[in-house]
């Protein structure tokens, strides 16, 4: 009787301590998640992260789970604590490998948390990559997906070398379904086209290729960037507007470039000190949070349904795919995207580009098409 009482007390004590400890971990995570812009909450978070970093390995999964709904700064704070605990757990051989693997496979969890779990797991179990990565081809984690795509590219290359062209083609096609990074897409598309496949890269990436465009308006001395010309007030495709060089009208343009580049300088005119407005529709089946991904070497502003989303006053610092990722919430049905593109008056040979490429994508980078394929025809005057 005495012995059983002692055991009961001991178990109660352990259970209480575990609850207190778990409460502490949750409290510390909660304090870290309260960090905001400009260092608000840093003092509390700093104390919390230092305490949390001393936790044992059982805190790892709660930390990963807490990534959901945490802001990007808080996620980095949490990662700092996670890595400190994981480093100790690896030394002490107490890393909860099975729980980590289960977490990685749970696609409802935060993609970055799953990636961090994966990076930690393969430090002690390299073979885990073979079990996990093949199933990540269409994953929400950009980096897990990238590894899955790379495996297929490597496999397809081997098949090509072995002259198994049809099999190689199928594997390349499979790889393309998950590929969004431009280097991988190029590595897939080039052999696929040689193997006879017709690939619509604009569709793959979700580029908008049909635009209505009007201009030029005056941007001498770069003053046009902050001048609200008529299209910023109202988009009326049938109207004639007062431009920099006289009357201007909206006209329909299109690009067939694989990467959706519309080159104003080549296709219309190499304007200098100019503003052009470009408009396109995007039809969404429901309200959804996506990203407008823009590349341009010119200064720009972008509106969706009349609301200014972002503006960038930078000229000729290069242009790449997905140079700017602008979060956007599309309403159901028709959404009107208006892009203001400004060219300056620099005469240097490297400062003559006047172009852009714009696509709609999930935050994971996967392209999203306008619901109606003929969407842009709605813009025809």
């Amino acid at each position: 009787m005495k012995r059983s009482s002692f055991l009961f007390c001991l178990m109660f004590l352990i259970s209480s301590l575990t609850t207190v400890w778990a409460d502490d971990v949750e409290q510390q995570i909660s304090q870290i998640k309260q960090v905001q812009k400009e260092g608000q909450g840093n003092l509390t978070a700093s104390q919390a992260v230092q305490k949390l970093s001393k936790s044992d390995a059982s805190a790892l999964i709660p930390i990963l789970t807490s990534f959901e709904n945490a802001n990007p700064i808080a996620v980095n704070w949490l990662r700092g604590a996670f890595e400190a605990i994981a480093a100790n757990a690896i030394k002490q051989k107490t890393l909860p490998t099975q729980k980590l693997e289960k977490f990685i496979q749970d696609k409802s969890q935060n993609p970055r948390a799953r990636r961090l779990a994966y990076e930690t797991l393969i430090k002690v179990d390299l073979a885990a990559a073979d079990r996990i990565i093949p199933g990540m081809l269409n994953d929400a984690s950009v980096t897990l997906r990238r590894e899955a795509v790379q495996r297929l590219i490597n496999e397809a290359k081997s098949l090509e070398k072995a002259d198994k062209k049809e099999q190689a083609k199928k594997v390349y096609q499979q790889a393309l379904t998950g590929a969004t990074d431009s280097d991988q897409v190029k590595a897939i598309v080039k052999p696929l086209r040689v193997l006879g496949d017709k690939i619509d890269l604009q569709k793959h990436f979700g580029f908008l290729s049909d635009w209505m465009i009007v201009g030029p308006f005056d941007n001498r001395e770069k003053k046009g960037y902050d001048t609200a010309y008529s299209p910023e007030e109202k988009i009326e495709f049938s109207s004639t507007l007062e431009g920099k060089e006289g009357k201007v009208n909206w006209k329909s343009v299109n690009t067939e470039d694989d990467y959706g580049i519309f080159d104003i300088a080549k296709s219309i005119s190499p304007y200098k000190g100019a503003v052009m407005y470009c408009a396109a529709d995007f039809y969404s089946p429901q309200e959804q949070s996506l990203e407008i991904r823009l590349g341009t070497p010119n200064a720009w502003k972008i509106w969706v349904n009349g609301k200014l989303l972002f503006a960038r006053n930078e000229y000729h610092r290069g242009m790449v795919l997905d140079q700017y990722n602008v979060p956007v919430k599309f309403k159901p049905g028709k959404n009107v995207i208006l892009l203001k593109l400004c060219q300056n008056e620099q005469s240097d040979s490297w400062a003559q580009r006047y172009q852009f490429q714009l696509r709609i994508a999930h935050p994971s980078g996967i392209g999203v098409l306008s619901q109606k394929a003929e969407a842009t025809t709605q813009l025809t005057p």
């Binding site: 812009k37 400009e38 260092g39 840093n42 003092l43 978070a45 700093s46 992260v49 230092q50 970093s53 990007p72 700064i73 996620v75 980095n76 704070w77 990662r79 700092g80 604590a81 890595e83 400190a84 480093a87 970055r112 990076e119 980096t143 990238r146 990074d181 280097d183 070497p297 972002f310 503006a311 960038r312 006053n313 930078e314 000229y315 610092r317 290069g318 242009m319 790449v320 140079q323 700017y324």
Partner: protein, 402 residues
């Protein structure tokens, strides 16, 4: 008893003598590219490589050294959006720890540079790592996270599509972080303990890759910070960010101002020598010399000479009082890394990874040795523990006497 005490003191003294000063930030303790107490090898060859540590990803930031620890930054990922801070044992080259974070700002940059281009800084207790994404991470020397800021997360238009390269510096309790670009351009002074801004000042809206320098006009004087831009140089108080005086005749946006013997050498109109100004008096121009125009590397003042390396890889040595060129030496370039100096020698590593050692004579310089590390090196090396520390994307090297 006395004998025992002496026995205990001997190894302690030996340790102290073998430990030189730290190299805690870009261009060293005083941001002047000089290590005064160090004696790195004066003649080098492959046998001087004490150790080589492997790195992954990309990185054009220089190493820094605090005590027996070497810190560097790097990035991985297709978009270079995984930010790494690494710590190595300076004696063995063993990696002691590594921490990673995700970029919260844009990671686009010119192919030649990397998101990990700014050199980290330390106040001896903490390491401050900044990246082109304008993320600022503060860790203790054992890798424990103390605080993080995401300056592009806070100010989304603070970015540069060619990448940010300016390195932060620590002055007293303030970490000076330049975030100067074509749009939302500023420099901020962060409290080293919390990461919260003590001040934030607007800066010229032009992309800028130069780094701040320290001006300490006398041993007792409070240090000031020199911020260089296309408009010139502003001397500011590190605690408040207030401007003390300005030089307004324009300056370069890549090589940075260097201070030597209380004279500023500014990449402006070639090279311009200035005496510091004050709150009541602007700085005075001592001389301007087009022939001393630096390429990417910043100027160096050492042993009563001013040195620049031009775009053709020619090392110029000039009189710091007059700007008159006293000798020239053609080296194997091109150079991105700034030359550094110790023990009567200059150490210059070119972009192809060739480290060249120049011995300084009265009226000429002479190459006394080189090591071909055979990898692209853009980062300015560090001098500490009587050794040189260099990094490429793939490796970190320690070069010591045999």
């Amino acid at each position: 008893m006395k004998h025992e005490s002496i026995k205990l003191l001997v190894p302690l003294i030996a340790v102290c003598l073998s430990c030189g000063a730290d190299w805690p930030q870009f261009r060293g303790p005083l941001t002047n590219n000089v290590a005064t107490l160090e004696t790195p090898p004066s003649k080098v060859d492959q046998e001087n490589i004490a150790w080589t540590a492997e790195l992954e990803g990309r990185g054009a930031s220089g190493p820094i050294v605090v005590g027996d620890k070497v810190f560097i930054t790097s990035t991985t990922g297709f978009k270079q959006d995984q930010l790494h801070v690494l710590c190595f044992d300076s004696n063995s080259g063993k990696k002691l720890w590594e921490r990673q974070f995700w970029a919260t700002g844009r990671t686009q940059c010119h192919n030649k540079m990397s998101v990990a281009t700014p050199t980290p800084a330390s106040d001896g207790k903490r390491v401050f790592a900044t990246f082109s994404s304008n993320d600022v991470v503060c860790l203790d020397l054992d890798g424990n996270l103390l605080w993080i800021r995401g300056l592009s997360h806070d100010y989304p238009n603070a970015s540069n599509s060619l990448g940010m390269a300016s390195s932060p510096i620590v002055v007293g309790e303030t970490l000076i972080v330049p975030v100067e670009n074509d749009d939302d351009s500023f420099t901020t002074g962060l409290d080293v303990k919390t990461g919260i801004a003590r001040w934030k000042i607007k800066r010229p809206r032009v992309a800028n890759w130069s780094s701040p320098a320290i001006l300490k006009s006398s041993p007792d004087a409070e240090p000031m910070v020199l911020l260089q831009s296309s408009e010139g140089v502003d001397a500011i108080y590190p605690e408040t960010g207030e401007t003390a005086w300005q030089y307004e005749e324009g300056a370069g946006r890549i090589p940075s101002t260097t201070v030597g013997d209380n004279i500023l050498y500014v990449p402006s109109n070639g090279l311009t020598a200035l005496t510091p100004g004050s709150s009541s008096e602007p700085p005075k121009v001592l001389w301007k010399e087009q022939k001393l125009s630096p390429g990417t590397a910043s100027p160096l003042v050492y042993q009563k000479n001013v040195f620049t390396v031009n775009r053709a890889g020619v090392l110029n040595c000039a009189n710091p009082q007059t700007g008159k060129v006293t000798w020239r030496l053609r080296l194997k370039g091109p150079f991105s890394a700034t030359p550094i100096a110790a023990a009567n020698h200059l150490y210059l590593v070119n972009e192809k990874g060739l480290l060249q050692v120049v011995q300084l004579g009265a009226d000429k310089g002479e190459v006394t040795g080189d090591i071909d590390l055979k990898e692209t090196i853009l980062a300015t090396p560090a001098i500490a523990n009587n050794s040189l520390f260099l990094r490429s994307d793939k490796h970190l090297w320690k070069i010591s006497s045999k």
